[in-house]
């Protein structure tokens, strides 16, 4: 019976005051067996990681490591209600991301002066920001590109909604204004609390995503350079990234960053490796474009968290450097094509076609799936997934070697979030309405991240345009990393109120309308 999509009320797995759910979903024999087999694989990845004494030592040293206890639950959140191809797509990407983060953690602790203290390894490490395109590392396969902020700040919020509250409080305790964006605030808090692994030959910081991230970078680089003796390069990518006259400057920044890395690591830029990565970047772009094209039809296939979480990881953090992601790109496309041919649907009913715009709440990333399961709102695409679709030069010729600096600059300028929150009203406001038309959407869900000044300034203009075009515009306020300001239920209530009062609709799955998940991971 539960084989059918939507046959189980998904809200019944929540328990008041509990961090976790009462049980996992029964999806029919075939899909439950598949989900079970993937759970075993995830447990294997986690077991292999924690069995190393070095990683156990790190688990007991770094507070943010406690959040990794919730890894299987994160997967459960993103697979809620999924069956068939959609369940397989979700696992293909989530399992790979888990494996990739486990490897990242393992390497960080290997070189960390407090944990593994492998000095030879540490000399090969280049630290990069959390929200930084790693394009500049595409030609350094002999070096390790590691981000400390990704596993200490970004991933924990996806695992446990409360994970960053401690670090945000620390940052504020040391004088940071409480209305700063929680993302750079939490990153700064980790550094202030001496909770960032210390390793690396050098670091590259980038002015992604905004002045908020510049603030966090300042706090972090002070400690890195002045105390840990790790030199830091500030890669200042232009914010008006669509203007032609900034591109030469942007390319020069890339040349300078490469020269800096060569100087501090002794490594030499490898053009063969670069163009190999460029091919994989283009493959990812083509696949994403195909998924988006499918989403413009009546049978969208790769959308919601399946699109958002994977695009963020693949586009920004991987940037063609890990061949395993190219394999998953192909696998996802194959699954999507198969489901498309059969005219399959992810939920039992599609009522509205929505574009999700603005910076999404990280403590409630599975909200996209909730929209679908509870109200039948199909999140066709989201702002963070609408990144560059331009293919970059991938054949090694003298002209393309010069072009490559411009391509890396373009990717860096068009990093997720900053390519929309900065660059003028065209990229943030005008293009949204182009996408609404292209995707034949009747609804826009606009995240209003209350600490993101870049977006909040245009509130009135969004409303004017929505009124002009007759599109249902739903504002959803949140505070990115801080569920104490607006809880997950607070987020849901904004949609519930709109759907009941303006749209006069009843939910598809009423058990999901109000969930007791305040204490939940």
């Amino acid at each position: 019976m539960a084989k059918k999509i939507g046959s189980e009320a998904l809200g019944r797995f929540y328990k008041e005051g509990s961090k976790v759910r009462t049980r996992r979903e029964w999806r029919g024999v075939k899909d439950t067996a598949y989900d079970f087999s993937r759970w075993l694989v995830i447990m294997g990845t986690l077991g292999k990681f924690i069995i190393k004494p070095r990683n156990m030592k790190a688990m007991l040293r770094y507070r943010w490591m406690a959040n990794y206890l919730a890894v299987p639950m994160m997967v459960d959140r993103h697979t809620q209600g999924l069956r068939g191809e959609y369940l397989r797509m979700c696992h293909a990407e989530q399992d790979l991301i888990i494996d990739d983060v486990a490897k990242l953690l393992d390497k960080l602790f290997k070189g960390d002066r407090r944990i593994g203290n492998d000095e030879e390894f540490s000399k090969k490490v280049v630290l990069v920001d959390e929200n930084e395109m790693t394009a500049v590392m595409m030609g350094f396969p002999m070096l390790e590109t590691l981000s400390r902020e990704t596993p200490s700040t970004y991933v924990p919020v996806l695992l446990n909604q409360h994970s960053m509250e401690y670090y945000m409080d620390i940052a504020e305790e040391f004088g940071l204004a409480p209305d700063v964006c929680p993302m750079p605030e939490a990153e700064a808090g980790v550094s202030i609390n001496d909770d960032a692994p210390v390793l690396g030959a050098c670091a590259i910081q980038c002015n992604t995503t905004c002045d908020g991230s510049l603030l966090g970078n300042g706090v972090i680089s002070k400690r890195l350079e002045l105390e840990d003796g790790i030199p830091v390069f500030q890669l200042a990518a232009p914010l008006r990234h669509r203007e032609d006259d900034v591109q030469e400057y942007a390319a020069q920044e890339i040349r300078n960053a490469i020269a800096f890395i060569e100087k501090h690591t002794g490594a030499k830029w490898d053009w063969d490796a670069y163009f190999e990565c460029a091919k994989r970047v283009n493959l990812a772009t083509r696949c994403r474009q195909e998924w988006l094209d499918m989403n413009k039809t009546d049978y969208p296939q790769v959308f919601g968290s399946n699109l958002a979480l994977y695009t963020e990881t693949n586009y920004m953090a991987i940037c063609g450097r890990v061949p395993a992601f190219a394999k998953v790109d192909r696998k996802l496309t194959k699954l999507a094509e198969k489901a498309y041919k059969k005219k399959k649907m992810m939920a039992k009913e599609y009522r509205h076609r929505a574009i999700i715009w603005g910076v999404q709440s990280h403590y409630y990333f599975d909200f996209l799936l909730w929209l679908l399961n509870c109200w039948g709102i199909v999140p066709l695409t989201d702002m963070l997934s609408m990144v560059s679709t331009k293919e970059i030069a991938e054949v090694d010729t003298p002209e393309n070697r010069e072009q490559a600096y411009y391509d890396m600059a373009w990717l860096t300028e068009n990093m997720i979030m900053r390519n929309r929150t900065h660059g003028g009203y065209k990229v943030l406001l005008d293009e949204l309405w182009d996408f609404v038309e292209e995707f034949n959407a009747d609804m826009v869900i606009l995240w209003e991240h209350m600490s993101c000044k870049a977006l909040d300034g245009m509130h009135g203009m969004f409303e004017d345009r929505a009124r002009e075009k007759g599109i249902n515009l739903v504002w959803v306020e949140h505070d990115l990393f801080d569920p104490r300001i607006i809880s997950r239920q607070g987020v849901r209530d904004q949609i519930n109120n709109y759907m009941r009062t303006v749209m006069r609709e009843e939910p598809i799955d009423p058990s999901l309308e109000v969930l007791p998940d305040d204490q939940s991971w």
Partner: protein
Amino acid sequence: MCKKCKCCSKLPWWSKLLIATTGIFGLLFTVYFFNLDMKLTAMMEPWLLKWYDHVDRDKHL
């Protein structure tokens, strides 16, 4: 293994393997289905958080 009837020792190797595999499968599936893995780790979290409070740190701006 039952001492009185010694029936287990008479079983062929493949049926012992089958019983063991089924037992392990049943156990793991119970853990999976009733979310026992997450229930256990949820119990560990408060203990870990208390532990971190005692770790020495050079906390400053």
